[in-house]
């Protein structure tokens, strides 16, 4: 017990240190652009948290990022490498938009529920295919999900530029969804909407499942030692499939909320790489749910303020992603080194 607490504290320290070093590395890139790093980082914070509107925009931005992070975390934590969340998000988003365009005769609340259900269902289906193939046939799931990403994105792009192209042709967007399906916003500005409640509920439910239920324990067993898990009576493929379907449903929910809450239409640029961001965040904190949520919110603050930083100093917004990527590499390297040192001490 003491050992594991020690490990948790040690790993937390590694994460924080890594993040600090990465911020420093990011500062070097800011210097490259001839700007003052402290100014740039301060501008980032101002841009994200400076006033009420900025804060609301940041919160709105956090919604898809937190959902994506949890989507990846639940899969990776279960030992199934769902790299396909991006494709699941796109298909989910389109499914929600389709409900809002082709079924607009239905009453509003039915539409909202149906849109959520369609998005989650389609995304789960798109997660089910590679999981089934991988679990039954041993096909490499990473390559499979990457290919399915490309297929899903090209397919929805075709839909949005072909059969479902909106009035503004060639823009890669569908028509707007019917008004009664649009989630109401908080206040006049910004895009923070009622979807945030759905997101919080889903994320909380999954976080509790991961940390405080038998399912969560068995997922961790499947990842850490599938042979032990099988010996202990865990149905490993079934648990992995569960994790994958949950992961897909969170990605689909993110897509649906982007359509119903933010853009009111499907567009080919609907995801600003949210699930890739979610992936590096989940990996940075080793799939721990609470830490993942915290990291996602920190990321939302940074990326929300990065626009202001880019305007002020010319440093591209990609800097934020670069910082987090470096942090992930430092964390993995740091934990590997620390583990080795610990082993050496014990052997002595």
């Amino acid at each position: 017990m003491n050992r594991s607490v020690f490990r948790e504290q040690r790993d937390l320290l590694i994460v924080i240190l890594s993040f600090g070093i990465s911020l420093f590395l990011g500062a070097l890139f800011i210097l490259l652009y001839g700007a003052d790093p402290i100014d740039a980082y301060a501008g980032m914070l101002r841009g994200a948290l400076g006033d009420r509107d900025a804060l609301i925009a940041t919160l709105a931005r956090a919604v898809p990022i937190v959902l994506s992070t949890m989507s990846i975390a639940v899969a990776f934590n279960g030992g199934i490498w769902n790299i396909g969340a991006e494709g699941q998000l796109f298909l989910g988003a389109f499914a929600a938009a389709w409900v809002g365009i082709d079924l607009k005769f239905l009453p509003g609340y039915v539409l909202i529920l149906l849109g959520l259900a369609a998005a989650i269902g389609v995304a789960m289906f798109w997660a089910w295919i590679p999981a089934r193939l991988s679990l039954d046939r041993g096909i490499n799931i990473v390559v499979l999900t990457i290919m399915l990403n490309s297929i899903a994105i090209l397919f929805t792009t075709w839909l949005a530029t072909g059969p479902y192209a909106g009035a503004r042709a060639n823009a890669g967007t569908t028509d707007r969804i019917v008004e009664s399906m649009r989630l109401p916003h908080f206040g006049a500005f910004g895009t923070l909407n009622w979807g945030v409640f759905a997101a919080v509920a889903a994320v909380a439910a999954v976080a509790v499942m991961m940390t405080a239920t038998v399912a969560g324990y068995e997922w961790r067993c499947c990842r850490l030692n599938p042979i032990f898990a099988r010996y202990g009576g865990i149905d490993v493929p079934a648990r992995k499939m569960q994790a994958m379907l949950l992961s897909g449903s969170l990605a689909g929910l993110a897509g649906a909320l982007l359509v119903m809450g933010d853009h009111y239409r499907f567009m080919t640029t609907i995801s600003a790489g949210y699930t890739w961001t979610g992936m590096i965040l989940a990996m940075m904190v080793a799939n721990a749910p609470a830490a993942g949520i915290a990291a996602a919110i920190v990321y939302a603050v940074m990326s929300s303020g990065a626009l202001e930083m880019e305007l002020a100093t010319g440093v591209p917004t990609e800097l934020v992603s670069l910082i987090v990527c470096c942090a992930v590499l430092f964390v993995t390297a740091g934990i590997a080194v620390a583990d080795r040192l610990a082993n050496r001490i014990r052997e002595d």
Partner: protein, 302 residues
């Protein structure tokens, strides 16, 4: 014939990448950082070409970038034995970001860069060649030379044997006095050079420009070919040719009025189909023979 030529152009970058990947796979590392390495290399090819002048400078810059990338991958995955998926996926994304940040710095643009001063790789035309083989890039021929040399090394040298031994039984290799870790690094370095060439080909021959995301999943298709071949060069090449042909066919279909987005799905669908076909067996029945492809780090899985 046009389709054959288009396929050759499509196969070239895949071939470089998959050959490099096949060797790292033999040593027990499934190199999933290929996509990022390729993108980074194609950016540095343009950068070197533009700043230093000349396509050779571009190729050298691309190779240097790709080598650095592969060495970092090796440090993390071979020396420190970190999880290969975490490192690989992160480095793929990192490569994107670095390319974007440097592009804005050097070229003051985000999205794409082309310039008349960029010298494309020369095309080779020889009088004795049939017409359909003339006017192909020098990189195409380089790929063929690399292919022949690597096949030769793979089949009939001690070095080729040691590479495979590092993956299949590293203790045996170590007891023969050869460091498996060193073999892995050698494979990664060779892979770095080859992926560098592939990236340079993409941005200074196939297109003479850098476009964001221009590797467009090619690195992943090469990884799929490596998995398909499972370290066997011959089968890897079969996979590469198949996927290259699918890409070329997809583009050909577009010119016949087929929706471009649907046509572009073709290679990805084919990759899925091929992987499924390869592993198609009744659930629960193990197939005898070669061991399963490396799913993580050599030996020390986490």
């Amino acid at each position: 014939m046009e389709l054959v030529r288009a396929s050759i152009r499509m196969v070239t970058p895949l071939l470089f990448t998959a050959l490099g990947g096949a060797w790292t796979q033999q040593t027990g590392i499934l190199n999933i950082g290929q996509e990022g390495a390729m993108l980074l290399a194609s950016f540095f090819a343009i950068l070197g070409n533009y700043l230093l002048g000349g396509w050779i400078a571009g190729v050298l810059c691309a190779i240097a970038a790709s080598l650095a990338y592969n060495i970092l991958f090796g440090l993390l995955c071979v020396t420190l034995r970190s999880n290969i998926w975490v490192v690989g996926m992160t480095m793929n994304i990192l490569a994107d970001d670095i390319a974007m940040i440097l592009m804005k710095f050097f070229f003051h643009t985000k999205g794409g860069f082309r310039d008349p001063s960029i010298v494309p790789m020369p095309d080779i035309s020889l009088p004795f060649l049939p017409e359909w083989l003339n006017g192909l890039s020098v990189a195409v021929w380089a790929a063929i030379v690399v292919l022949v040399v690597m096949l030769r090394i793979d089949r009939s040298t001690v070095f080729g044997l040691r590479l495979k031994c590092a993956g299949e039984n590293e203790d045996a290799l170590a007891s023969a006095g050869v460091s498996p870790t060193r073999m892995r690094y050698v494979a990664l370095l060779v892979n770095g050079v080859l992926v560098g060439a592939a990236g340079a080909y993409l941005s200074t021959s196939y297109l003479v420009a850098f476009v964001v995301g221009m590797s467009a999943g090619r690195g992943w298709i090469a990884v799929a070919a490596v998995i398909f071949g499972n370290g066997h060069l011959g089968w890897t090449i079969v996979g590469v040719c198949l996927f290259g042909l699918a890409q070329a066919t997809g583009i050909e279909l577009q010119s016949h009025g087929f929706s471009s987005h649907l046509a572009l799905m073709l290679p990805y669908l084919l990759v899925v189909a091929v992987l499924v076909a390869k592993q198609w067996r009744l659930p629960g029945r193990e197939r005898p023979g070669r061991s399963a492809p490396a799913q993580g780090n050599p030996r020390h899985k986490r």
